[in-house]
Each structure stands twice: as structure tokens, then as C-alpha cells.
Amino acid sequence: MKILIVDDDPDVVEAITLSFGLQWPDARIVGAKDGRAALAAVAREAPDVVLLDIALPDIDGFEVLRRIRERSDVPVLMISARGEEIDKVRGLELGADDYVTKPFGYLELSARIKAVMRRAQALPPVSGEGQFEAGPIAVNYATHQVAVGGKPVKLTPIEYKLLYQLTRSAGQVLLHDQLLTKIWGPEYLGELDYLRIYIRRLREKLEQNPQQPVYILTERGIGYRFDPSPQVADSALVKA
């Protein structure tokens, strides 16, 4: 396994490198002290996971993340001394897989890395029912293929898992914490930002009008619900 650590503080890079070396002797750890070096390392080393600090001397961490996402789906954990809500949301929206606030413990960080990698790889088990259809949306549980109006749509693993949970319980309300526990893990209870961002991405990929969704519905303050047969004689639906 190859881990890229991007942080301008060499002590942090060294501490993480040494401690990971202890836990995962077979892991290779690459350090980068600024944004340019980080982008070069992503291209050159093709790491399995990236730990990315926001405050970098040359390019802003968010910008680095945006450029990484232009060409790679590698799991990225933002690590930042800024614990502001807005930074977290921005990082997640730009495609970060997780956001850890400094100072974090060594155990916490390794747990997070494992979780991120697990989420990025594992997909839900193949279901016996095989196929789900609602209007133009079609989900093939066996192949993990999703299509809208016959055209295939590419979903990330987390997006797929979220859609899987929603469609498997179509018509029922799924509570925030239920979804968070099932997709991210029990340590993410209450982290509504994660859920909100992925729901929005799903809507953008599946709904005709993401601002006025008819399939993936919000139950304010409670959770989300997939409506398999919306009672909307809307032109949007007719067109779809």
C-alpha cells in the first residue's frame, strides 16, 4: 500500500511516516511538502490514499484536491488545523472522501484511512433481486450498473451504496443516522454534511431537475426517502 502525505510541517510528515511504518510495515509512505510536489507525486507514484493538508505554502489544499480529482479517483483525506464547518463542506464537495481536524491521534487517523479505503473499494453484496426500476432510473444490483433513460451513469462507490440503501427500502424513510452508519460507519453519527453532499451528487446524476427532486426526497430533520412512483404530473417527468 502506498500513502502520500502532503503537509508543509516536516515533523508531522515524519511522525505519521514513522508511526505508520510501525503499524503497516509493508506500507510505502511518500511525503510532499507543498502543492506542486503533491500533484507530481500523485502522477508519479499513483498512491492508494492521499492525506492532504489545506494550508500549503504554494497552492491551496482545496485547489490541489480539485486538480487531483480532474484525473484521479484516489481516496483523499483532508487534514486541517481549521475545524470550520465551511472548510469541511468545501473539501467534501470538491470530492474529498473524509475530513480530519488536527490534532488527530495516530489510531484515529489509521482508522479513518482504513474506513476510507474500505468504502472506496467494497461494494454491497450482490442482491438476489437483480433489478430495480423507477421511471427512467434503472439499477442493476448484480452488475452495479445504473442507467437513466437507458444511458449508463457512472457512480462512485459511496454514491452507489447510498442509492442501493435508498432503493432497497424504496418508499420508506431512512433516518440520517441509519444511512451514515450503514455507508460511512458508526463513528460518523451526526455528520449530516457527508450525507447531504452525497445526496446532492446523486440527484445531480439521476434527477431531471436536481433543485426539485421527485425521486430522492428530503424528510426535513429526519432523513431521506426514495419515491418509486412520484405522483407528479410534471412536465419534467413527462420529458424524462
Partner: protein, 648 residues
């Protein structure tokens, strides 16, 4: 035509008019001045016109009839009219000739001569032109005093008596009683006219005084309004004071000066801009400095702490003409009369007001009252201005300080976080090595103990930094809640599981006081809340209970619905909190320094935990509080708005 004459000779009658008109000119009301002049001249003209008309009528009635009678006018009315015309033309022509000293008196004399001649030639004793004497006497009496009027009456009486005995009237036709009645009535007319004039004057003076008082009150009122408007612009207030005072006293110049504190008056003849004191006048927008004379006047006012009045600047010893009052050199004029009023603040003169007149017209007792009142208003303005300035400075300083504190907190916290990350990571890694070694040795080595110590201290430091940052963010309003529907019972069960090891370590028991899971009562524990933030509050309350309750103590965690709210409480049987402390423990940085604290309790937190808890609860629209008695334990509680029943 007589009317015309009277009007054109208005200036000519200056002798009689002068005393009144001077007084009138000094009156504050221009309106009254016009009115008074019109009443005297108008009355005079009216009486003359009336007299003239009566003479003409009488001459018409008497003309052509023979024999001695009261109407025995032997002159043709046409000739009489012609004579009057000629006379008036003559008078108008004579106006061009400069009368030397007493033009009014000269004209009166002329009038008198003409009337006397008319009497002489138109019947003597029987002449109806006597009536013109009345008009003359009234006209004079309206302008001069009683004694002069009586003198005139005496003169007229003598002349009339003499004329009566002259031709063409035969001596035996003269009735002495009739003559006496004629002369007496002249006297009565004179006295009545003088009395009337006096009455008009007194009334006019009264009106004048009232107008003056009302005007002063109005000015003072306006000034008070300006002063109390709380305008921080002291210079503007001074400008108003200068302008208002010069207007109030019909003075040409007003000037307000504020001394520079802690500086002697001698130094105030420096240019104002450099020396820091303040001059404002109603004339010169940029007065430069005080003159030597003005400084001396101000010194006198400072010494006596009372207004200084100078009747005549020229006679005031050592003064130089035009030495003061910027901008008053025009037209060779300068200030003749000055009032200098001190502004007294707490027994100290902080400035002065100068009011100056070009004319030598002294300030009187009545003026002194208004001057003093204006000075007091100015003092109030200065005091208010200073208070305002102080307040503003204080406010901006405290705001600056708070901003600095927030910036510092934020900066320090951020800068601490990165090195703490290294320490924590390293300690974690080392502990994992040590734990392997420890398991092998089966007892803690010194190194392990030291390492654990570093680990604990690091954790405490991290908590501190996080609390500081949290507090800064909460106070700046930068914390937004992620509200979701929660069942407080479920949250409490999870938290209890989390903190149990902590309490176990101190031999404390943790009891839960909750409704039966899934029961209708359980469902009433639903709230809308930010799970992470509420957990933060609960952890803080529980860690306090853990810290301050002696080993072996009991802690109870529970929730009940109450009055549309869900009330969550953490109860312990620790030492309790003194009433004074109870009020303050939710303030930031406050720490209880209780002697009853157990020896192993030390206030190692930031003192922010409860302040943060309060902010979070209040952000949810809830309340937080404590009930405690010394030696009987404490119950911390918070209440959040309930999300209704049966929803879960």
C-alpha cells in the same frame, strides 16, 4: 397738504423725536419702533388736518356777515386756502436750508408765527384760527415733556391775549371769561396730550421688554436643544453659541474660546491651530489667535469667575483700538463694548465667550442673566462632549480588545494544533511499541509511565485548544447547527456507554434515569438537535461530574419531558457548589476555587467547558442551569424544545 408737511418734516422734528426714537432704536422689536413713530406723527397729522378743515368751514360760514361775532371772519375763504398753500410751499422750500441746531424748534416757531398772524388778520379775539393753536400744542406735547409743553402753552396764551386786544376787535367786545376759557382749554389739551404720550411710551416699553424676554428665552431654548442633542461636534456647538449670542445682544461680533487644558492663558495668543485650543467666531471662519487684549479680558474673567463687562474699549486702560475680534476692521469700525463670559466647569474656567458691539451701548443687568445662562449652556455642551468622547474611546478600545482576543485565540489554537498532531502521533506510536514491551514484562516500566504522562498531558492540551477555538467560534457566531431529529434517550444510552470506563476508573457508579425504551414516554424525548454538539455538552457535564465527585461517588444521567421541553440532567453526590459560584460557573474562564474540593481535584481545564455548553444549548433555543447545595451534590441540567410526542 398739512399731512404732507408733517411727513416731510419728520426729520425736522428731530428735537422732539430724538429721545424717543433713540430708545426705540435700542428696542429689540423693529415692529414696535415703526408703530410708535407712526402713532405720534399720525396723531399729530390727523389733528392738524382736522383743525385745518374746521378753520375752512368756519371761514365759509362767517364770510360776508357783518358785526362782531365768534364767526366774524372777514377774509375770503379762497384767500385762506391760498395762504395755506403758499405757507406749505414755503416750508418745503425752507427744508432745504440747513437748520442749525434745532430744526424742529425752528419749524414750530414758524408754525406759531404763521398761526398768530392768521389770528391777528382774521378776527383777533373772534378768529377761528385759535383752533390751529390746539393743533400746534398737541403736536409739540406729543414730542416734548410736560414742562416744555406748559411753557409753550404760556407763550401761546400771552400772544393770543395780546392779539385779542388788537384790531380789528374793539376792546369792549372782549369777554375776559371767554378769553380765560380759551387759554385754559389750551392748557388742558397740552396736559392731555402729554399724558397720552406717556401712556403710549409706557405701553411700548412694556411690550419691548416682553419681546426681549421672549426672544431671549427662545434663543436659550434653541441653544439648549443644540447642546442636548448630544452632538459630538463641540466646534459646531461653539459656532452656534457665538452666533446666537451676537444675535441675542444685537452685537456685531460673537466669539467662543475653549482653552487648552493645562496651559496658561499667556500662551493662548499663539496661533490656535498649533497650540490646540479652539476659537470659533460667527464672522471669521478661521480665526487665528486671541489678541493681547482678549487674553487680558479672559484672564480677568478667569480670576473673578464672573462675566467681565467693558463699557468702552477705548477707555479701558491699555487697550488698543481694534486689537481684538477678528474681522472687525471693516469700515474703520471696531468693537466698543464687550462682554466676556467665563465657562465654568467644576470651579475651573475652561473657556470664555466674547460678545462685542461696535456702538458704545453697555450691557446691562438683564443682559448679564442671559450671558451667564449661555455660558452655562456652553459648559454643559463641553461636559457632554467630553463624556461622549470618553465613552466612544472606551467602546472602541474594548471592541479592539475583543477582536484582538478573538484573533489571538484563533491564531494560537491553529498554530498549536499542528505540533500537537506530531506529538500525539508519536506518543501513540510509541505507546503501541511500549504496550508490546509491557505485555512482555507484565509491569509498567518508568519509560511507559513517562510516555503515558506525555500522552495524558497532550490530550489535555488538545482539549484546551479545542475549547478555546470552539469558544472563539461560538462567540463570533460562526457555528451552525446540523439539526436532525434525535431521541435524547438514545443519545444518553450511547454517551453512557462511552463514559462508563472513565467513571469505572474512579470507582464511581453511573445510573441511568430514563423511560422504558420504546414506551410512549420514551417517544416524548424527541428533539431537533445537532448530535455532535449535544454530545459535546453531555461529555462536558459528565466529565465534570467524574472529575469533581470523589472516588466511589454516584453519578446519574437522565432525561424527562417537562413543559414542552426535554430536560436532561447529570446528578452527582460530590461536594456541591457554593451559591456565589453557581451564578458564575457558566461564565467563560471562571473556575471554582473551592476549599471543599477533594485534594486530587485540580482545575485543569480552560474554564470554558460550561460556557461552551451554555452557548451550544442556547443556540438550540434551550436553557442550561445548575442546582446545588454545598456537601449535597450538584445537578446540572439543560432543556431543549420538545419535538412533540410519538415521533421517533
Amino acid at each position: 397738504m398739512k399731512l404732507t408737511r408733517v411727513r416731510t418734516t419728520q426729520h425736522g422734528l428731530n428735537l422732539a423725536l430724538a429721545p424717543l426714537s433713540r430708545r426705540v432704536r435700542s428696542a429689540r422689536s423693529d415692529f414696535f419702533k415703526e408703530d410708535a413713530a407712526l402713532s405720534v406723527d399720525g396723531l399729530d397729522a390727523g389733528i392738524r388736518t382736522l383743525a385745518f378743515a374746521m378753520v375752512l368751514v368756519l371761514s365759509l360760514l362767517g364770510y360776508g356777515k357783518s358785526g362782531p361775532s365768534y364767526l366774524g371772519v372777514s377774509v375770503d375763504p379762497a384767500l385762506i386756502a391760498l395762504g395755506l398753500v403758499v405757507y406749505n410751499v414755503l416750508v418745503i422750500a425752507l427744508l432745504g436750508v440747513p437748520w442749525r441746531k434745532r430744526p424742529g424748534f425752528g419749524l414750530f416757531l414758524l408754525d406759531w408765527l404763521v398761526v398768530s398772524a392768521a389770528i391777528l388778520f382774521a378776527g383777533g379775539f373772534f378768529s377761528p384760527f385759535l383752533i390751529l393753536y390746539y393743533a400746534l400744542i398737541i403736536g409739540a406735547a406729543l414730542r416734548v415733556g410736560l414742562s416744555r409743553s406748559l411753557l409753550l402753552v404760556g407763550g401761546c396764551a400771552v400772544v393770543y391775549a395780546a392779539l385779542s386786544t388788537s384790531r380789528p376787535t374793539p376792546a369792549d367786545a372782549i369777554h375776559l371769561p371767554v378769553l380765560a376759557v380759551g387759554i385754559t382749554s389750551l392748557l388742558m389739551v397740552a396736559v392731555t396730550a402729554v399724558a397720552m404720550k406717556r401712556a403710549v411710551e409706557v405701553e411700548g416699553h412694556k411690550v419691548e421688554l416682553e419681546e426681549q424676554t421672549a426672544g431671549q428665552l427662545r434663543l436659550l431654548n434653541n441653544l439648549t436643544r443644540v447642546v442636548l442633542s448630544g452632538s459630538p461636534d463641540l466646534e459646531g456647538v461653539m459656532r452656534t453659541v457665538a452666533a446666537v449670542s451676537s444675535r441675542a445682544f444685537q452685537a456685531e461680533s460673537g466669539m467662543a474660546v475653549l482653552f487648552e487644558p493645562g496651559k496658561s492663558l499667556d500662551e493662548h495668543d499663539e496661533p490656535a491651530g498649533e497650540s490646540g485650543y479652539l476659537i470659533v467666531t460667527d464672522q471669521d471662519p478661521n480665526p487665528q489667535r486671541l489678541s493681547q487684549y482678549e487674553v487680558r479680558l479672559a484672564e480677568r474673567a478667569v480670576r473673578t469667575q464672573a462675566p467681565v463687562l467693558v463699557e468702552d474699549v477705548l477707555r479701558d486702560s491699555g487697550s488698543e483700538r481694534n486689537s481684538g475680534f477678528p474681522g472687525l476692521e471693516r469700515e474703520g469700525q471696531g468693537v466698543r463694548t464687550v462682554a466676556c463670559v467665563p465657562f465654568l466647569l467644576g470651579g475651573e474656567v475652561i473657556g470664555v465667550l466674547f460678545v462685542g458691539r461696535y456702538t458704545q451701548q453697555p450691557f446691562g443687568e438683564a443682559d448679564l442673566g442671559l450671558l451667564t445662562a449661555i455660558g452655562q449652556q456652553m459648559t454643559v455642551a463641553v461636559r457632554l462632549g467630553r463624556l461622549y468622547e470618553m465613552q466612544r474611546e472606551r467602546a472602541s478600545r474594548s471592541e479592539e480588545r475583543e477582536q484582538l482576543e478573538r484573533d489571538l485565540l484563533s491564531m494560537v489554537s491553529h498554530e498549536l494544533r499542528t505540533p500537537l498532531t506530531s506529538i500525539k502521533t508519536c506518543v501513540g506510536a510509541l505507546e503501541s511499541i511500549e504496550s508490546v514491551a509491557q505485555t512482555a514484562n507484565n509491569h509498567g516500566s518508568t519509560e511507559t509511565k513517562l510516555l503515558h504522562n506525555i500522552g495524558r498531558s497532550t490530550d489535555r492540551l488538545i482539549v484546551l485548544v479545542n475549547e478555546l477555538l470552539d469558544m472563539a467560534r461560538l462567540r463570533a457566531g460562526r457555528v451552525s447547527l446540523s439539526l436532525q431529529q434525535l431521541n435524547m434517550g438514545e443519545v444518553l444510552l450511547e454517551i453512557a456507554a462511552q463514559v462508563k470506563p472513565l467513571l469505572d476508573a474512579r470507582g464511581q457508579t453511573l445510573a441511568l434515569d430514563l423511560p422504558v425504551t420504546g414506551s410512549p414516554r420514551w417517544d416524548t424525548l424527541a428533539v431537533m438537535a445537532d448530535r455532535r454538539r449535544i454530545e459535546q455538552v453531555l461529555l462536558n457535564l459528565l466529565s465534570n461530574a467524574n472529575k469533581y465527585t470523589p472516588p466511589g461517588g454516584n453519578v446519574t444521567l437522565g432525561a424527562t419531558p417537562k413543559d414542552g421541553q426535554v430536560r436532561v440532567f447529570v446528578r452527582d453526590d460530590g461536594p456541591g457548589i457554593a451559591p456565589d459560584d453557581q451564578e458564575r460557573i457558566f461564565e467563560k474562564y471562571y473556575q471554582v476555587n473551592s476549599p471543599t474540593s477533594a485534594a486530587d481535584i485540580r482545575p485543569d481545564g480552560s474554564g470554558l467547558g460550561l460556557a461552551i455548553a451554555r452557548s451550544i444549548v442556547e443556540l438550540h433555543g434551550g436553557q442550561i442551569g445548575v442546582q446545588s447545595r454545598l456537601g449535597r451534590g450538584s445537578t446540572f441540567f439543560f432543556a431543549l424544545p420538545s419535538e412533540g410526542e410519538g415521533v421517533g
